[in-house]
Subunit: 448 residues, 4 copies
């Protein structure tokens, strides 16, 4: 909440945002986290899980709107639909949302809708906005972003190969998508689909287009849902979807043919900040559960509470330190994005993208370990959190791809620093002469 | 297989064991791993998962017996029922069994039956053996070991508190158990239960007893099954079981009242070797899947196969090295147990217990990462393997408890090494005098 | 330099500070780093190393003063002698100073003088200030802080036991000190000494006093100098000093008898920020040397430059990320100290104290490894940097002491979070009732 | 000593070797370690360090010979000069030698002489043996192996470029070498030099030759000695040497022109085992010093001895485990080399080469940390040990080169395992048909 904002960024948080943050925090702690249990119960069992729309979520949404919590993610200054928060301010709220499974959706800030709404707000035409952005902003439908494909290395988006062939006023789509997150939800009405419309374009960054496909279009089959370490994430889910001669009006194209890369790149910055801050929140919650456990007076192996044993307090200290460091990295990236735009903030965003999930996984795993068996089971939120966050080391490109890119960028300084060091060495030689002294090298007087 | 046995232990493996190992390897690779898919399909969905006994498993058991693969785990020299292999020899076979979900059960070497059979063979009386050991050895029933309890810190077994009260010729049991692995299987007919029969005994290691409880005894309720990350491990499962006035004949007591600690300690050594070697096998399989992926000609991010990218080959090399090192640690422990007994091998077994799961988790996680999304899903065996092995850092005591114990044991040398170092320093002073020379300390001539 | 200040803190840096920072950066890069070589040559060999006062250092000091770079460390608002920078602002400058061996002293911001000047400015009386603070501020003498003792565990300062016995108008000191850094310098004229003046005081935090001892007082012997991984750090050095009936006027007492703890605690905050930021600077320089090496066109193992090999770019990326994260942690702590005082910033300062040296050691070690043999030798600044920074994991208390303290502090939340989670669980039960639904637990319908 | 040999290898150690091992252990503990102090004092200060030949070393050599400890390194079966030990047996002795600075030389088993003697014994002709092998075996001279060069990436030996030009009956050598270890010793009489004799040979592995060069040959200059962190390692030292028209008789060529690669590859196997086992010994000694410290009754921070604090016992346990695992890896490699030759043992030797130094550095660094300031200083053997062993991650090729090679080798299985997994998948499909069942995929019945 607002009292805990790191001092370095505190003065950039408006009073309104600070107040909203406190409302978010209270809403999450007192309403959403208890609701998570009911949500899971209402999702049910078996095939019903993919038809469910838990009542409690609609109740929470109503409550959220009455508290003024709605669509806070849409950044100030970029969209007329924005409630007026910066990425920094919303980032602080997203941390709290990340502690609960239902909270983000309850305030209409859940992925992938957030990114999809940004795409529509940024690149959609008026008709597209009216048809799809409006109901998304109102929280009456949900959406999915279909990019990743099972048969290629999608971490390099140029490989995406779902066929988009122009046929009169339509495009005809054929191919497969997977990790279509959110496609399991019966309210998911619109797919934003990336495909290859111009496979022979010499510029590999102009071969792709993005098109809007209603989820009930003929020829679309939800082949199955993918599990994440045994979790199905229903009703949201991660779809494996096939397209067989799916016809979509050409007017559904977003921004224009061949502009797919432009769209996916524009979509990523804020989303990475959101993910990172929600992940920070999850790590904070894991740390709290760990604190609860190690102070549990009924659990006293070898006559002492867990907190008094060996490495436990060091785990607590390291977790605190690592979370705090990671949060500063994300917030600094958010500020950079707010003040200089996502392109200028590429380095900072990439750092947050790589650092935060690894940090959170370490913290959560310590919490699991401190719980023993309960930690891996349904009796704590820890195992599920771990599994969800483990995917963030893969989603939007695996860590290794980002690290290679970051390494290449940093390495661009190579020539310049080599020149600087060479100049420093030359200057040193000059100074040695000036002071009329020689370097004393050990062993330089040895004679054999 | 036998051609890959580390050279340091090769000469201790009999020809018979080497041949059997090759049969096991072929059986696992060609029969069991393909059967895993069918097994999962036959387990079914929903509540049926806890009633299932997949047909393919019985077919595999028949095949295994025809190949001479049955009960190999029961160590030579200790039990007349043993097929004659050492812990080392069976350990090498267990590595192969660990690559498949069904393999261990197919050759009647699945936990927890193995440890339970050892308990009965070692401590059971003739009637107990006839009633329970015989059908377990024949693979017609299964069993569970009920020790861990939800409300106490079970890593310190003295905390186990299920009440066992003598009432005439019976004991009456009241309390809760969880992580009762295997209790989900409809064929699980016998529970070996640890409880507190003498809570006031001054020796906290004599308060516990172990008793045999048929799983259909009145008063027992399977409250629910625990999940491991999102997996239910059906039909095997991990039971949360309550005992309400459960009456068992006093003749079901194993070894005698107050001897529970003796039994659980005798049970652990070989089981830890088995778990460790199966885990090595899982790590090997994960490495193979990773090799498959990084050489997949259809997956070429940024124009190169994965094996040509950045850190990938280093991951392969480290995985190879870490698995090989861990295997040597386990096999050395097995030899020590074979030649000097489990008590003498305590240190070596504890090292294997701690080292192997951490090693395997690292290897498997690298494989997951190299697969991208497929790695966390049902499309590879990796995510499930990871979750199963993650529990081994907790089961039979968390790593930290073992490390503290190992640290204390090693620290017993403290006094002796301090004396040795003191003697070395004294001798050095003596020699300085003898050679009439003084230590040259830097700065010792500074005058101010 | 100012263009690289992290955006989160940029707006707190005054124009004057930004300009000064740029001057510092240029002075370090163009004057100080080249001078390091000459400095080492002028220090000479053998015993002369402890008599040396390299001429180039005085020339640099003159240059520095002419550039307006002098005593920037003394924080604004606390001392009338301050040039007016905040801890944040000076921290950014300290980063640059940390790249060169001579830079800090050239601008009169070298440890331990900085901390000692703070002690005198904060706690010294007018006479003490006139006699010692004045020449220290002018850079004409140097100083040492004598706390650590060889025969006790000094990480717990209550163990400090150098005897300080009142004898009329004097105190008589007997005992040993080591790690008296700076005592090797012939210009080191004043020791600030902590000793035990009241061993029987019931409050263990009131047994210690701090007294000023001129380094040429009778009875003081520099026994020897301690090496750091083979380096003598001459002429600065780390003294091992004995006190035999050393008489000092009682007027040399700082602040009053029994107030030693108050003084050492007041001394630590800013010093830890300085150390941390200088260490960040060293890590940056190590990364630059690494970039130079991996782009060296003459070094092409297996036909490719190092930057094209395996893990190298990932090392670069991780180093960049880890340094950037660590810097934010330190700067956030500096801001907290600036705005709320060192006591409020305890947590943040401790985090910086622990995180930064470990980060820098990792970065430097990667650089060493990328250089091969040159990395461990006198041909790069890397090995020496590593050794210096390795001591920071021990100085002012080893990491583990700080982590335990940080863990204990964080753990204070234990009770509160346990209550919160309990309330959340109770609310969930209430909601389940309200929505008339039960948790669906797997396996809860099993009947045996 | 013999009682501590890991059980897995114990039966391969002959009685003679076991007895010798016990003698070595006693000799090291009681004679050599105390002598280290005297040795360092006798080496002296300043330039004299490179002229010193400490008397105590000759006394130890005499003692060693009288105990039958001499040249144990020369492996049985390969050389008529061998005292008859296997690589395994000598490896166990080398562990003890690695605890002391002087021990290896005291028993004439010091690098680089050992490798050089192997080269001469294996590839030298009779004249070469008489002139150089004989006095080396007798311990009356020492030697150096000059391969690495400052101006190229020597980790790829094809880059070695010291010019060797045939001129009548002589070769003329021009170029520079560094990291010529041992060249500082005044008794170092012979250099084994690798150079490029045939730069235009199409086979890059045939361009190099190895030639014997007496260290007093005209044209050779010891330019300087390299330091390792701040240590000079005098009198041994690491030379930076220049060759200016150095003329050597063509008869000094070893094995023949163009056979340099053959020689350096033949030289490496046993040497890597020796280094690894000595490093294990150093790690054991570090652990012993740590045990001494954490049980020191005079060092009680916060009222408890160090062993009772937080993570300390876990450090002890992990150190014990990691050393034990690493030792098994080396001994298994030694056995493979003994029984199947160095070529067959390439993988195992490379694993030892990479694993052991990293393990030892971790253990030693923990010991340093537990000592506080004393750990980095001259008062413990730890800092020096760390620095020496740090070079082993670079010498004979940096870890990363070995890991890449190991990764490539392991990756050769890629095709085979891909085929196996494909076969397993095909078999699974076949079995699904046979059992007339389909895979149950979650969400496969979703209709929209």
């Amino acid at each position: 909440m607002s009292a805990q904002i790191p001092i370095a960024v505190r003065d950039r948080v408006s009073d309104k945002a600070a107040k909203t943050l406190d409302i978010v925090a209270k809403f999450v702690d007192e309403e959403c986290i208890p609701a998570d249990t009911v949500f899971e119960a209402q999702v049910g069992v078996g095939e019903a899980r993919w038809q469910a729309h838990p009542k409690i979520l609609e109740d929470l949404k109503e409550k959220a709107r009455s508290l003024g919590l709605w669509n806070m993610f849409l950044p100030k200054g970029h969209y007329k639909e924005s409630p007026g928060f910066t990425n920094l301010e919303y980032g602080l709220m997203a941390e709290w949302l990340g502690k609960s499974r239902v909270a983000s959706e309850a305030v209409n800030c859940a992925a992938p809708d957030t990114g999809n709404m940004e795409v529509l707000a940024k690149y959609g035409n008026d008709a597209q906005k009216a048809q799809w952005l409006k109901p998304l902003m109102d929280g009456v439908i949900r959406s999915a972003f279909l990019m990743t494909e099972p048969q290629v290395a999608s971490s390099d988006a140029r490989n995406i190969e779902l066929k988009m062939v122009r046929d009169g006023d339509h495009y005809v789509l054929n191919g497969s998508k997977w990790w279509s997150s959110g496609a399991g939800d019966p309210r998911c009405k619109i797919y934003i689909v990336m495909g290859k419309s111009d496979p022979n374009n010499k510029d590999p960054y102009k071969q792709q287009s993005v098109i809007l496909v209603p989820s009930d279009t003929k020829g679309i089959t939800i082949h199955r849902m993918l599990s994440v370490y045994g979790y199905d994430d229903a009703p949201h889910g991660h779809g494996h979807i096939t397209f067989h001669n799916v016809r979509v009006p050409a007017t559904n194209l977003v921004l224009g043919e061949g502009r797919g890369f432009e769209i996916i790149q524009g979509r990523l910055g804020p989303g990475r900040i959101h993910h990172a801050m929600r992940t920070i929140g999850a790590a904070e919650r894991a740390l709290e559960w760990m604190l609860m456990r190690i102070n549990d007076p009924t659990k006293t192996p070898f006559g002492k509470q867990l907190r008094e044993h060996g490495v436990i307090l060091e785990w607590v200290a390291k977790s605190r330190l690592e979370i705090d460091a990671a949060r500063l990295v994300v917030l600094n990236a958010a500020i950079k994005m707010d003040e200089q735009g996502p392109k200028a903030a590429l380095k900072e965003i990439a750092q947050a993208k790589v650092l935060v999930p690894q940090t959170a996984l370490t913290v959560i795993d310590r919490a699991v370990q401190s719980f023993g068996g309960a930690g891996v089971s349904q009796d704590t939120p820890l195992a599920n959190m771990w599994a969800q966050i483990r995917t963030l080391r893969l989603a939007d490109g695996p860590d290794e791809v980002h690290l290679q890119q970051m390494g290449r960028n940093e390495n661009r300084r190579g020539k310049e620093v080599a020149a600087k060091i060479a100049a420093q060495k030359a200057k040193a030689e000059e100074l040695l002469k000036k002071y009329n002294i020689t370097r004393s090298e050990i062993g330089s007087n040895i004679k054999r």
